[in-house]
């Protein structure tokens, strides 16, 4: 418990130092457009909460992330199942994906606008692209890491082909699939903001860009803060879900580390 308390105190100290440095720098600079003080950010947060724009933009971004992410998860997992159950599929698909993978999600934005116009659709597409690769790559790796000994144990206890898939391959792969989903969600959260900066008329990315144009810097920072907090909450929540879903994994990792 004590190391935990210590870590907590140190973490809070780090944030306090950042805020202090920011305050001092803002006072020296004395320019609320280039660098407003933290208090201006709080005021901006209150205003945007009260007039409802923050909640509306956050909801718009979340909706796009969930749709894009859902789309990516569905296609990536379907493709993993296809490559695993049909071997030529692997050789067919892997080179294509290796070629597409280095393209950063932001580079897809212009073509997405051409194809889908402005609005929700290009954001769905870009967030899906961002989430697809981590989900696909991790899940495919997960299918490969099944232990021969577990297969043998299951077979000599009477497991047939279907039972092996359900009771051995699937549970062996699930933790990696989950890791893929976790990384994929983080990636699409970052991608949605990128897409909205350019290709949308709502959402946190749009809010940041609009307020930049109107020189409302505190609100730009409010947008960034909300992105950070929501992203951190997603990661925390998923890590917590991971320990609930796969209680055996943590221990294995700890053992592997020593």
């Amino acid at each position: 418990m004590r190391p935990l308390v210590r870590a907590g105190l140190l973490g809070l100290t780090g944030i306090a130092v950042l805020l202090a440095a920011w305050t001092i720098a803002a006072r020296k600079l004395d320019n609320t457009i280039l660098l407003p003080p933290p208090t201006a950010l709080l005021a901006g947060l209150r205003e945007t909460l009260l007039d409802g724009t923050l909640v509306r933009d956050l909801a718009a971004s979340l909706k796009r992330v969930l749709c894009g992410f859902g789309l990516a998860a569905t296609t990536a997992l379907a493709l993993v199942v296809a490559t695993v159950s049909f071997r030529p599929m692997r050789q067919l698909v892997l080179p294509v994906l290796a070629l597409l993978r280095p393209i950063p999600p932001i580079a897809w934005v212009p073509i997405a606008i051409l194809w889908f116009g402005l609005g929700d659709s290009p954001s769905y597409f870009v967030t899906a692209v961002a989430a697809f690769f981590p989900i696909f790559v991790n899940s495919l790796a997960g299918v490969g890491i099944v232990e021969e000994q577990h297969l043998r144990a299951a077979r000599c206890l009477g497991a047939g082909r279907l039972a092996l898939i359900r009771f051995v391959y699937l549970p062996s792969a699930l933790p990696n699939v989950f890791t893929g989903l976790k990384v994929g969600l983080g990636q699409s959260w970052m991608a949605v903001v990128t897409a909205e900066l350019i290709a949308a008329q709502s959402g946190l990315g749009y809010m940041i860009e609009l307020n930049r144009l109107q020189l409302e810097t505190p609100r730009v920072l409010v947008g960034m803060l909300v992105i950070a907090v929501v992203g951190a909450l997603m990661t925390l929540g998923l890590s917590w879900a991971e320990t609930l879903l796969f209680p055996w994994r943590q221990q294995q990792r700890r053992k592997g580390a020593t």
Binding site: E147, Q149, H150, R152, A153, A154, R155, C156, L157, G158, A159, G160, A163, F167, V168, P171, S172, L174, F246, P247, W248, Q251, Q252, K255
Partner: protein, 287 residues
């Protein structure tokens, strides 16, 4: 033997023992069995010309230095590997695939880490479509003294406990043959002796056929009716030894003259075989 300390479980705290294996079942025949691997373009002989008949209810230890092919032999009987020549018959039927009448207890890390101890033990019963798999599994977990640990995941159990769960998992499917691949090899000396005694206690009342692979001479003598020694280069049987120790065997068994005589004979034989890989430029390694 005055200091015989065979701790038979009291009736009060253990569930009733399962039925003995049906009489006359569990016979194993290895006929001119050979296993060769192609590795790096070269052929390795893991096992050559093994003829062995194991009677129903017999406890046979396969003893030999590492690389002698003893685990390969077990894997072929289990149906994990196919012989290059010869064949394996179980109760007259050709072995082509693994089956629940001859489950394997592995050396370590074979429990499903995503299942509790109870679900691990229940696994084979579920595969057989058993209606009350969990109830039965609880019973077998009790047989190895782990009734209170049913909800634990394998990583929450000690190495010895994991092996007992592995044993319970194999016993739960009520096999006629139990295949054991150095099941106590990774345990500390104290735990290993306790495990051997527990295994004998179960087997002496149950009497299924056991094929027990080990490199530990003491273990082979203490447990088995018969010890088959596999040699190196070539990997062929070097002899079979009947163990003339009375059953039930307890701690006193190791103090007898019969034990000592057999131990010395086996020690010399294994030492001779092991030395072949010392100084030889070309070591054959199959596990």
């Amino acid at each position: 033997m005055a200091h015989e300390q065979l701790a038979l479980p009291s009736r009060r705290d253990t569930p009733p023992l399962p039925q003995p294996a049906p009489h006359g079942r569990g016979a194993i025949t290895l006929a001119n069995l050979s296993v060769r691997f192609a590795r790096g373009g070269r052929e390795t002989v893991a096992l050559a010309n093994v003829d062995l008949d194991i009677a129903p209810g017999e406890f046979v230890a396969i003893l030999g230095p590492s690389g002698c092919g003893k685990s390969t032999l077990l894997n072929v009987v289990a149906g994990f590997e196919r012989p290059s020549a010869g064949r394996v018959l179980v109760d007259g039927a050709l072995v082509t695939a693994p089956g629940p009448e001859r489950p394997v207890v592995f050396q370590q890390h074979s429990l499903f880490p995503w299942m509790t101890a109870l679900d691990n033990v229940a696994f084979g019963l579920r595969m057989a479509g058993h209606v009350s798999a969990r109830e039965h599994a609880r019973h077998y977990l009790g047989l190895v003294g782990l009734a209170d640990f049913h909800h634990r995941y394998p990583h929450e159990l000690s190495g010895g406990m994991q092996q007992r769960v592995g044993l319970a998992r194999a016993l739960a499917v009520e096999p006629t043959i139990l295949l054991m691949d150095e099941p106590f090899g990774a345990l500390d000396a104290q735990t290993r002796v306790l495990m051997q005694e527990q295994l004998l206690r179960l087997w002496e009342r149950w009497q299924h056929t056991v094929v027990f692979v080990t490199h530990d001479i003491d273990e082979a003598i203490f447990l088995a009716d018969r010890i088959v020694v596999l040699g190196l280069l070539p990997n062929i049987p070097r002899g079979a030894f009947d163990v003339a120790l009375p059953r039930p065997r307890g701690r006193g068994a190791r103090a007898s003259a019969a034990y000592q005589g057999l131990y010395d004979a086996l020690f010399d034989l294994i030492r001779q075989e092991s030395q072949k890989t010392f100084g030889a430029t070309d070591t054959v390694k199959t596990s």
